[in-house]
């Protein structure tokens, strides 16, 4: 029981991170109908930006953790959005009216490029970051097993809830949200109505990258280990989350993220930690086989 509760807390934390990344996949898919293969690597870039900024702040003598976190969040979000913008501009926009395969391949090229760019410029070694906010509350103790929730975990879950609320407001209540949804429905008509479709698509990539940047900062703070390969696995898991929830559906992305996060921590704890990644891939294949539209997605009708 105690172990299950602990895994629930760990799973919710992990799921929040996956959910934040999954929103980037789902939004981009909604608007241009394509998977952003480089999204996982944009997340990885943000984690490296966070490591550098944390180190810089420590060198400058900033000792207040909340202040440092705030600065790192702002810096990472700004720079990572620039990366999101560049990904769209170089790998997607020139190929928007091309064959289906071409933008997929250019995006995979972008993913390989980003991974190796970070490996060359930042080094292939793992970057250790001193743990932050590792103090926490012990909820209860049963026998020798005590259930803990750390400040970092609380922060991740609360921040995710706040971001999700803000993001839902952005999409459902603001002018940009309406334009974004119009673009999803029909790009041509949106252009006829006088909206700048290129700008909306660019902003969508930037928002996706910004949310991934928050996830990157949180992971850097929570796990304290970053290397150039983290984007690959996190990207696949977040993508699985997006597919599980229904690609194109925002609540679906969050729900899918939570399910994948919970599944992973329970699998690692009760079954086998070595095969936890296989569990995610098996779920991905099963969902695509039996319910390709996901839990909350609408079935897709292919038009000629």
């Amino acid at each position: 029981m105690a172990q299950a509760l602990q895994q629930l807390i760990n799973g919710l934390t992990l799921g929040s991170v996956y959910g934040l990344i999954a929103i980037g996949y789902t939004m981009v898919y909604g608007i241009i109908g394509m998977i952003n293969f480089a999204h996982g690597d944009v997340y990885m870039v943000s984690a490296f930006i966070a490591v550098t900024t944390f180190t810089l702040l420590a060198a400058l003598g900033v000792s207040s953790v909340p202040l440092a976190l705030l600065v790192v969040l702002v810096v990472a979000v700004l720079f990572t959005s620039a990366y999101g913008w560049t990904v769209e501009r170089t790998a997607y926009r020139p190929l928007r009216n091309s064959t289906r395969l071409a933008p997929l391949i250019s995006a995979i090229g972008m993913s390989i490029f980003l991974q190796n760019m970070v490996q060359v410029t930042q080094g292939a070694r793992v970057k250790p970051v001193p743990p932050m906010l590792s103090d926490g509350i012990t909820l209860f103790t049963s026998g020798s097993y005590s259930v803990r929730i750390s400040s970092a975990q609380i922060l991740i879950i609360v921040l995710t809830v706040v971001l999700m609320a803000g993001f839902t407001w952005l999409i459902t209540r603001t002018a940009f949200g309406r334009q974004q949804r119009a673009c999803e429905q029909d790009r041509l008509v949106t252009a006829f109505l006088g909206y700048n479709v290129d700008r909306i698509i660019s902003l969508t990539f930037m928002i996706g990258a910004a949310l991934a940047a928050v996830a990157g900062v949180m992971v850097t703070m929570y796990y304290g280990v970053v290397d150039f390969y983290i984007g690959f696995v996190a990207g696949i898991k977040a993508f699985t989350a997006a597919v599980l929830g229904g690609v194109g559906s925002l609540p679906g992305a969050m729900l899918g993220g939570l399910i994948i996060g919970l599944l992973e921590s329970f699998w690692a704890s009760y079954l086998s930690p070595e095969y936890k990644d296989i569990g995610t891939f098996v779920i991905l294949i099963m969902v695509l086989m039996f319910r390709p539209s996901g839990l909350l997605g609408r079935p897709e009708v292919e038009k000629v």
Partner: protein, 439 residues
């Protein structure tokens, strides 16, 4: 869809400078956290190291590159406009038809020439181990490229986990030979068949999916196979892999030192040399690769092969014409997997040692890069791309670090420049020429 058609307009100098400044500004923003700064480990603690001169160089290069690029683009545009009036799409189609009727395309001449060079290569470099080794590696990649070309180039299915089938082939041979004493030739068809079976098992549920879903599923499948190989120690030896895999033999005679049982040197009465085995391996992979090419070329002329190309171009039209799209895709998937399995058997036999290290995603990416850069659907393009991509890192050790970086960059640039690949071959293999045209 939102492109605005501009009247032809040569940008002024100030417009060019503005455009280049914008590019340089973006380069600065992107470069600050990656090139400008890095963290170095100083005894358990990280410290920030700055590299401003490199960042300045990068920004400057972007500025200059952007100006040169826009100038070059301008020149190309002006030239193509001058040429456009003379040549139309119809005349290009006529030329293609004429070439088909003659039966000889320039490609086939180059192809025969390449075969000639490949056969003659060991005659000139029979003592140079280094060259034979590289040539063998190039041929493995050519064979893998031709196999993946069936899936990606002909059937238009993006497979990101091709290396899984390569791994299935390699591990099948390794296990059959070390555990059960099977020979290379007995294991070859079994391994190919098993790889094809894996292809069907993966493809059957997933090929109904759209292209990008398929890409992700194959990526996941590749990782599942790799994780299984790493963790299932009883079967695969885990991260340590399988060692002392027997080398291929010729009708039961192996390349062993003289006076050993079954030594081929004794049989033929020639002096023993370790080079003989390398030369034999080289000709073996050359033979396998050529057979692959013949097989794929023949398939392209059969109804099934033409259905692959048709499904790539328009799936819905194919369904309307009564083609069973799933079967067509599945056959492409299985044949591609089988060819990958064959290449895997050869790889295991040549190395004598395999481990999961050889079957990572970056290997899949390299094979995909070969197909994409060479030109999807073009057999000759694969050869050229494999030559370039395998030989590039051999030019210098410093260069190896940047190899994958350049791969990624080249994949973006080539897709944007030529979405079909450099030697793209999207024209159908067979063209129906109405008989009435003869007059």
């Amino acid at each position: 869809m939102t492109a605005i058609v501009h009247a032809h307009h040569t940008p002024t100098l100030s417009e060019r400078l503005k455009d280049a400044s914008a590019a340089a500004f973006i380069a600065l923003i992107l470069g600050i956290p990656m090139i400008g700064m890095t963290t170095v480990d100083q005894g358990g603690f990280l410290a920030v190291m700055t590299r401003w001169p490199q960042l300045a160089l990068f920004v400057g290069l972007t500025f200059a590159g952007r100006i040169l690029f826009s100038l070059a683009l301008e020149t190309i545009k002006r030239r193509s406009q001058g040429r456009k009036s003379g040549k139309s799409a119809a005349s290009a189609a006529e030329a293609a038809n004429a070439a088909l009727k003659r039966g000889t395309k320039p490609e086939s001449v180059i192809g025969w020439l390449a075969v000639g060079i490949a056969v003659a290569l060991p005659i000139f470099f029979s003592e140079d181990r280094y060259i034979i080794d590289i040539a063998t590696s190039v041929l493995i990649y050519i064979m893998l490229g031709w196999g993946l070309n069936v899936v990606v180039g002909l059937a238009g299915l993006l497979d990101l986990g091709y290396v899984a089938f390569y791994a299935v082939g390699a591990y099948t041979y390794a296990l059959l030979s070390t555990q059960f004493g099977w020979g290379f030739w007995e294991a070859l068809p079994v391994a190919g068949g098993l790889a094809a079976l894996f292809g069907v098992l993966l493809g059957w549920p997933t090929l109904r999916l759209r292209g990008d879903y398929l890409a992700i599923v194959t990526l996941g499948f590749g990782e599942i196979i790799r994780l299984l190989l790493v963790n299932w120690t009883e079967l695969s030896g885990g991260p340590n892999g399988i060692t002392s895999i027997p080398r291929p033999s010729v009708f039961g005679y192996a390349f062993l030192p003289p006076d050993t049982e079954g030594s081929i040197a004794d049989l033929l009465g020639i002096e023993f040399s370790p080079m003989h085995r390398l030369l034999f391996l080289y000709y073996l992979i050359l033979l396998l690769a050529l057979l692959t090419n013949l097989f794929v070329t023949a398939m392209r002329r059969l109804p099934l092969g033409r259905a692959w190309e048709a499904v790539r171009e328009d799936e819905i039209a194919c369904k309307a014409m009564g083609i069973n799209v799933t079967t067509v895709k599945l056959s492409a998937f299985a044949i591609g997997a089988m060819l990958g399995g064959f290449a895997g058997v050869f790889f295991a036999a040549r190395q004598g040692f395999i481990s999961p290290e050889s079957f990572t995603f970056s290997e899949s990416a390299i094979i995909l890069a070969i197909v994409v850069l060479g030109g999807m659907g073009s057999q000759l393009g694969v050869v050229l791309a494999a030559l370039v991509l395998v030989m590039l890192p051999e030019l210098g050790r410093d260069f190896a670090e940047y190899r994958m970086l350049l791969f990624g960059f080249a994949m973006i640039v080539i897709m944007v420049w030529r979405p079909g690949g450099i030697l793209a071959n999207r024209a159908p293999t067979l063209i129906h020429v109405p008989t009435g045209d003869k007059a």
